[in-house]
């Protein structure tokens, strides 16, 4: 299962402990994590379920390219970091 680690900066708003979930894409993994932590979803994704403008996601150190569909591939051994972008102040 892929491991998901959230930026520490979100933790004071909503608890987002590291989690593990299975899935072939970033979308599949994150939706499973958010199913257990629904309040966190809106902190990462916008109303259309795209990645928020000033958030960023890395899969095994590579920034994802599909910020709308989150279709970037994930391996079972992957680590997904959900971070703030430096943009956004």
């Amino acid at each position: 299962m892929a491991k998901v680690i959230f930026t520490p900066n979100v933790q004071r708003h909503v608890g987002c402990p590291a989690a593990e979930a299975a899935g072939a894409t970033v979308r599949e993994v994150l939706e499973k994590v958010f199913a257990d932590n629904p309040q966190a979803r809106g902190y990462v994704l916008d109303d259309q379920a795209a990645l928020r403008r000033h958030m960023t996601i890395f899969v095994d150190g590579q920034m994802i390219r599909d910020r709308t569909r989150l279709a970037d591939r994930v391996k079972d051994s992957s680590t997904i970091h959900v971070f703030q972008a430096l943009s956004g102040g």
Binding site: N9, V10, V14, Y43, D47, Q48, A50, R52, M55, Q84
Partner: protein
Amino acid sequence: MSDRLLISTRKGLFTVMRNGGHWDISGVDFLGDNVTLTLTDSRDGKSYAALDHGHFGVKLHRSTANGWEEIASPAYPPKPEGYEEKDMWGREVNWSTNKIWALAAGGPDEPGTIWCGTLPGGLFRSNDHGQSWEMMRTLWDHPLRKKWAGGGADLPGIHSICVAPRNAKQVSIAVSTGGIWHTADGGKSWTQRGEGMRAEYMPPEQAHEPNAQDVHCLAQCRTAPERMWVQHHNGIFVSSDEGKTFTEIKDVQPSVFGFPVAVHPKEPDTAWFVPEIKDEKRIPREGKLAVTRTRDGGKSFEVLSKGLPQTHAYDVVYRHALALDEQGDRLAIGSTTGGLWVSEDQGDSWACVTHTLPPIYAVRFA
């Protein structure tokens, strides 16, 4: 008389209380966070605070006996696959709450009903104290809505919501930029209002197009709801038929430009404005912060400055940062440079509470 103010700032929500004739900061919530607006619902005493976390999006909180709890934020419906909608720069419009710009309580016969206006132009209603929100698709899907444009912000937004005091199904909203809209049936249908307003920034043949009007703030008199006041991008306008038609008030000194307007709850001819040098400078004239007041429906205005800084003051008072209490006696203004002033005599004189707050976005008696 209200003895409590909620001050929404770039770096937190400050509570200011009247104590022994003085107004002092008594507490702060959400310190460090961007608080854009509050509503305190006089029907049940609950307060709502809108936050914009930047990275993490717009959130809404509601007061509890022990503090605050996060509740649902208004969320836009899924955009249909393949549906294209571009803004004035040709960029795709993201159907997502970009900012909460208006909060208003429903009528006395609608406990729990809250209205919420947002950027990029969605209007929402909750019937359960903000636990869930329904978008007014009747307005969002109106063909003229797509012609709304950005004003001060890149995106159009609903900043004023006036629920008619005698019939809560009648709601008027104002949009920057998109004029004034009215429903008489609780949101089932919407019609454009605001004939008579004039837009200097449009080509002459479109200057009176109601949908092109950049209303900065719309206020409705509580006991004479047919009276509405508008602070507009290029003028002051007054209506005597609940916003159907407006008359322009010209030659107001020191300026007809500004953002907020407040109208006395029992005296429809009495209204307050905060003038700034129009439009390209947006600072008080000659560095003198002032409030203007009319008591005769706009025939004449007084410049009220006693207690306000009169040298090198560059305070801008945003549209939600002029507050009037329910009795119509106490006023408060908060500025972009962190100044907060209170008047207990309808603006005749002002006392500075502080001039060191973060930039102030909204001031509300609570």
